[in-house]
């Protein structure tokens, strides 16, 4: 039988598919992982995947590479749709030399970035193994070129959503990719991230550590390197869908709307009666947001501030909320970084911001000094100051000091709506603390120091009152918890997606970090 050119094309195409590589795919499954193509099938809407570079194979130019066989050169690339939205996807194939990047594979990755830039569609990276393919990389002829993809990824950053799912070993190269993504999810037990794996660490420093301890999903989620850790690949891929569902396909597009859905709880009962009693601010978030729309990011990292994408009346909103359950809700360095990154992501894609304020201040102590809180807190102010999206604030309880300002309190960053709950206490610092510091001598000199202190404290307490905050017009209104959602929805419906910038001509501001 004569092989026609079409037959030959079909044969070549089929050779790169999972069915033609049953042994390699079985090994991948044995590791508890899906194949690169199965992942694409799960993620994309049925029948929408169009592959490019499927016929690529390894460059066999150097001596000893004659037998190198690398279907698609280790990375499956193409375009498709996720919940009706076009995306570019690259899925690294661990069964091909551990997912390593060959020379042509690198060109395919660059092509993905180029498509995302030209088409203005999100870039989805499904990472599993990788790094430069050593067989090709130990050659100055190739390596001296360096790698242009990082430049491309920086150009994509903030223009289209860039997301990464870490689905296997991710030390080195994959972590470099993920570092430039604005959302990273990892799978527990199989995924790792870091600059170098245990073998290199041991060779370089002598430290012995397992890959899970060094860079496993739970470790990186706690450190804030990953935004989310999940148990299964299916959840990881679905989390990309959920994340993308809140964002436009590119920065200049309208936000994706959804049907409004009433929350299932009401915020009325969340606030405890005692001012010294902690509560879970996520209950407030859940009671303000549309049902089933709260998507918390970096929940395990800096839990003293909650960052979540939610919907209000069907519109995406980014919530930044102090969490009294942890460190009293105070802002430490990790919390500032987490909130600053989140504000940056929301601002890039036009997602309005909602600040739920219950902050006793910045966390004081040597740990804060060591972790550069002075600058980390500056970055939060910086991101907030350059943001152009609508922003709203609600003071739930404490709004103390500079942290109140860093949480967009009052008029600090010209919030489109500044509200306070009847439980709000807005002032420069806690009354007790302020009296002890500022009136130390006065108290010590009094005939009855305790009585003098109590007198001062009660005097100042009367000045800390949400009604006074509204009388001074630091907030627009004091509202009951149950009125809050409708007030926010009303403000959200009026605010334009972007404020027109009236800034002076410059290239960019200089981030404190």
């Amino acid at each position: 039988m004569v092989m026609t050119p079409v037959d030959e094309l079909r044969r070549r195409r089929a050779a790169a598919l999972d069915d033609a590589r049953a042994d390699a795919i079985a090994r991948q499954h044995a590791l508890g992982k899906d194949s690169a193509r199965e992942r694409i099938t799960h993620l994309l809407d049925e029948g929408t995947f169009r592959e490019f570079g499927g016929l690529v194979d390894a460059v066999r130019s150097a001596p000893g590479e004659e037998q190198l066989h690398a279907p698609a050169d280790g990375v499956v690339t193409g375009t498709g749709q996720v919940d009706g939205r076009p995306v570019v996807v690259m899925s690294f194939d661990f069964t091909v030399y551990g997912g390593s990047n060959g020379t042509i594979g690198g060109l395919k990755v660059a092509r993905c970035c180029e498509r995302a830039m030209r088409d203005g569609t999100p870039l989805v990276m499904l990472l599993d193994g990788g790094g430069h393919r050593i067989q090709e990389g130990l050659d100055s002829h190739h390596f001296a070129h360096g790698f242009t993809v990082f430049q491309q990824m920086v150009e994509l950053s903030g223009f289209v959503p860039v997301v990464a799912a870490m689905l296997g070993p991710g030390f080195a190269g994959p972590s470099n990719f993920a570092a430039l993504a604005d959302f990273v999810v990892m799978v527990r037990g199989t995924a790792t991230m870091g600059i170098a794996g245990p073998a290199l660490v041991r060779a370089a420093t002598g430290e012995r550590i397992s890959s899970e301890e060094l860079g496993g999903a739970d470790v990186q989620a706690r450190l804030g390197v990953a935004d989310l850790a999940v148990d299964t690949e299916a959840e990881a891929l679905d989390s990309l869908r959920v994340y993308l569902g809140f964002l436009p396909s590119r920065a200049d597009q309208e936000l994706p709307l959804d049907e409004p859905r009433a929350p299932v709880t009401d915020p009325g009962g969340v606030m405890p009666e005692g001012a010294a009693t902690a509560y879970d601010v996520r209950d407030v978030v859940g009671a303000l947001a549309d049902a089933d729309t709260v998507f918390e990011l970096r929940a395990e990292h800096a839990p003293n501030v909650v960052t979540a994408l939610v919907r209000l009346d069907g519109r995406p909103v980014g919530v930044v909320a102090n969490q009294p359950l942890h460190l009293g809700g105070s802002l430490d360095s990790p919390a500032c970084e987490k909130a600053a990154h989140f504000v940056s992501v929301c601002d890039a894609f036009g997602v309005p911001l909602l600040f739920l304020i219950d902050v006793p201040g910045f966390l004081v102590g040597s740990e804060s000094a060591r972790t550069q809180l002075a600058r980390r807190s500056g970055r939060l102010l910086f991101e907030l100051g350059q943001a152009t999206v609508p922003r709203f604030s609600v003071v739930l309880r404490k709004g103390y000091g500079a942290a109140y300002i860093a949480m967009c309190g009052g008029r600090s960053f010209s919030a489109d709506l500044a509200l306070a709950w009847p439980t709000a206490e807005i002032c420069a610092m806690s009354v007790d603390g302020a009296v002890d510091v500022a009136y130390r001598r006065d108290i010590a000199a009094a005939p009855d120091p305790a009585a003098r202190r109590a007198e001062l404290v009660s005097g100042f307490r009367q000045r800390v009152d949400p009604i006074l905050a509204a009388q001074g017009f630091g907030v627009d209104d004091v509202v009951e918890p149950a009125e809050t959602r409708s007030a926010l929805i009303d403000a959200l419906s009026r605010a334009p997606q972007r404020r027109t910038a009236a800034a002076v001509t410059k290239r960019h501001g200089i981030s404190p970090i």
Partner: protein, 582 residues
């Protein structure tokens, strides 16, 4: 006649006893720790005394004497089965509402209790009361494997290990001994035949100080999770008349043999045609209301009368109808029954015929993290078992508790399960059959079909569908069925909210601060999520939770000590959960 009684307990049982006092015209004194300062039992008592700990014998006794009480009711748990406390109460010239200290001590030692039971002609499981591995192997060889090794002074599953064959005897003995020593301060263990699928049936006894012992029928408490009873009923269903009578007689003989006084419960394991002595609880039981409803006897009133020296009056010999009790505990059944503390916002009960609701909480009260989270007991009576179950199901569906998750859905699942409605179940049934179905949260109705979405970490997230450019509307694929099928395994896993870090065994402070509370003691068993310490910083107290369950091996810090972020506060050792119920 008692004139003034101190109730050395909290929660619903304290409320139950305080109300009985009021009914009998006995003045009452409540005790409370700091977290319970405004609790319901404190509000109900004539007087209330703060104590540091419900286990502080001296403080309780001191409070009783200072407030002029002439009797002390221990409730259940805490010091209810503490012979030293019973003895100290008596030595101080007060009446202990319970059995003589000797009976408490004898029944508290499982080896002694077993011997006494055996001597009284009560069937016991084949056992050896030694830690000699050869004897244990011989026991297994003669009566079959597995063999259960238990702590002599234990309870609640602590210090229990299962040996499934000859080879496992050595390690099981070592582990059980070590655990018994660390948990109960006494490494004595014994080994007995292990029953694979027993029922838990118990007999209620009442004995007065004049030698009269009466039996008030039986209860079935086989619906358990990790030895914690969830649903109890009286009488035990489907028990042959002969066995029921034999168990009653055995319980009566044992109570007589130990010189029992007051209300007590003799617990048995039932398998096939045989029943075996498990243990005797020398106190009022949580599930006493089911017996009260079917016998028309107020057990707490009887306790108080007997303690005052009264003789038992005539008691009914047969139960009327059937009663079932559902425990409503502040635990999250969809999240591995994780204990959850918090404020009870709403607490409403449908008032319907045959419904009784015993609770220690009113709306606005807080379930503190330090104590057992039993919020309430819903008890239903009906003329038949099916009628009682029907009333319980209907009532449970209308019970509203908000603010904290509760075990009510788990109890509802039990009551609705054909395996339970059609007949008796065994002690492993709930964990094998019902518990796995509770972990999955139901998907919000219609949400997946409506607009798509995804399940991540046990939570549903909506994902809106974008109109596909360049595709005619008629060709739009309906994504619903595929999305529905995608929701994969791994649901229901929620990260424990904990300020502790590390592998769970080492509990460290997440922050720089001052230790403002140490909530546990060495040897104490803690459940995952339990608050073990508090660290104060920025003028707010931060609870430190145990990430896993375990037994406290060491407390590394003192109250008031300044700690750095990451500094170890406590060390936990693993806890075993094998074994039979108690």
């Amino acid at each position: 006649m008692l004139t003034k009684l101190l109730v050395a307990n909290r929660g619903e049982i304290a409320v139950r006893v305080l109300r009985a006092c009021a009914e009998q015209g006995i003045e009452s004194v409540a005790v409370h720790t700091a977290p319970d300062a405004g609790a319901m039992h404190v509000r109900l008592a004539d007087e209330a005394v703060p104590v540091a700990d419900y286990l502080d014998r001296d403080a309780l006794l001191d409070a009783a004497l200072r407030f002029g009480a002439d009797a002390v009711h221990p409730g259940y748990g805490f010091l209810a089965e503490d012979a030293a406390f019973a003895r100290a109460v008596g030595a101080a010239g007060l009446v202990f509402v319970g059995p003589p200290a000797e009976a408490v001590a004898a029944m508290g030692d499982k080896v002694v209790a077993r011997e006494l039971a055996s001597a009284a002609g009560v069937p016991v499981l084949p056992a050896v009361t030694t830690s000699d591995p050869e004897a244990v192997r011989a026991l297994g060889a003669e009566h079959g494997w597995p063999v259960l090794i238990k702590a002599a002074h234990g309870g609640g599953g602590r210090g229990m290990r299962l040996a499934r064959g000859q080879a496992e005897v050595g390690t099981a003995l070592t582990a059980a001994t070590a655990e018994a020593r660390s948990a109960f301060g006494d490494g004595t263990v014994y080994a007995e035949r292990y029953l694979a699928g027993p029922r838990h049936v118990e007999v209620q006894v009442l004995a007065d100080a004049h030698g009269t012992v009466a039996v008030l029928g039986d209860r079935d408490c086989s619906v358990q999770r990790r030895h914690q009873k969830l649903v109890e009923e009286a009488p035990a269903p489907d028990l042959a008349d002969g066995m029921r009578a034999a168990m009653a007689a055995a319980a009566c003989r044992l109570a007589g043999a130990v010189g029992y006084r007051g209300a007590g419960t003799v617990e048995f394991l039932v398998e096939g045609d045989s029943f075996y002595f498990l243990e005797m609880n020398t106190r009022i039981q949580v599930e006493h209301p089911v017996t009260e409803l079917v016998f028309g006897v107020d057990l707490v009133h009887e306790q108080l009368r007997i303690a005052a020296g009264a003789r038992l009056g005539p008691l009914p010999s047969l139960p009327r109808g059937h009663a079932v009790e559902c425990r409503i505990v502040a635990e999250d059944p969809s999240n591995g029954f994780l204990p959850v503390a918090g404020q009870v916002r709403e607490l409403t009960v449908p008032w319907a015929p045959g419904i009784r609701f015993d609770t220690g909480y009113e709306p606005g009260d807080t379930v503190p993290p330090q104590y057992d989270g039993l919020i309430a007991k819903l008890v239903a009576w009906g003329p038949s078992r099916s009628a009682a179950l029907h009333r319980a199901r209907t009532a449970l569906a209308a019970v509203v508790v908000t603010g904290v998750p509760t075990t009510a859905p788990a109890a509802a699942a039990v009551l609705a399960h054909p395996g339970f409605t059609s007949g008796p179940v065994t002690t492993g049934w709930f964990e094998d059959v019902v518990a796995p179905t509770l972990a999955e949260e139901p998907e919000p109705a219609g949400a997946a079909r409506e607009a798509g979405g995804a399940w991540i970490a046990g939570r549903f997230h909506r994902v809106p569908q974008q109109p596909r450019p360049g595709v005619e509307p008629g060709r739009l694929r309906d994504p619903a069925p595929q999305r529905g099928a995608r929701s994969g395994p791994g649901r229901g896993r929620a990260a424990p909210r904990t300020a502790g870090t590390g592998d769970g065994r080492l509990i460290s402070s997440a922050m720089q601060g001052v230790v403002s509370g140490i909530e546990v003691a060495v040897g104490e068993r803690v459940t995952a999520g339990r608050i073990v310490a508090r660290v104060e910083a920025m003028k707010l107290e931060n609870p430190v939770h145990a990430a896993t369950e375990g037994v406290v091996e060491a407390v590394c810090v003192r109250l008031g000590q300044a700690v750095a972020a990451g500094e170890i506060l406590l060390v936990l050792a693993a806890a075993t959960v094998d074994g039979t119920a108690s």
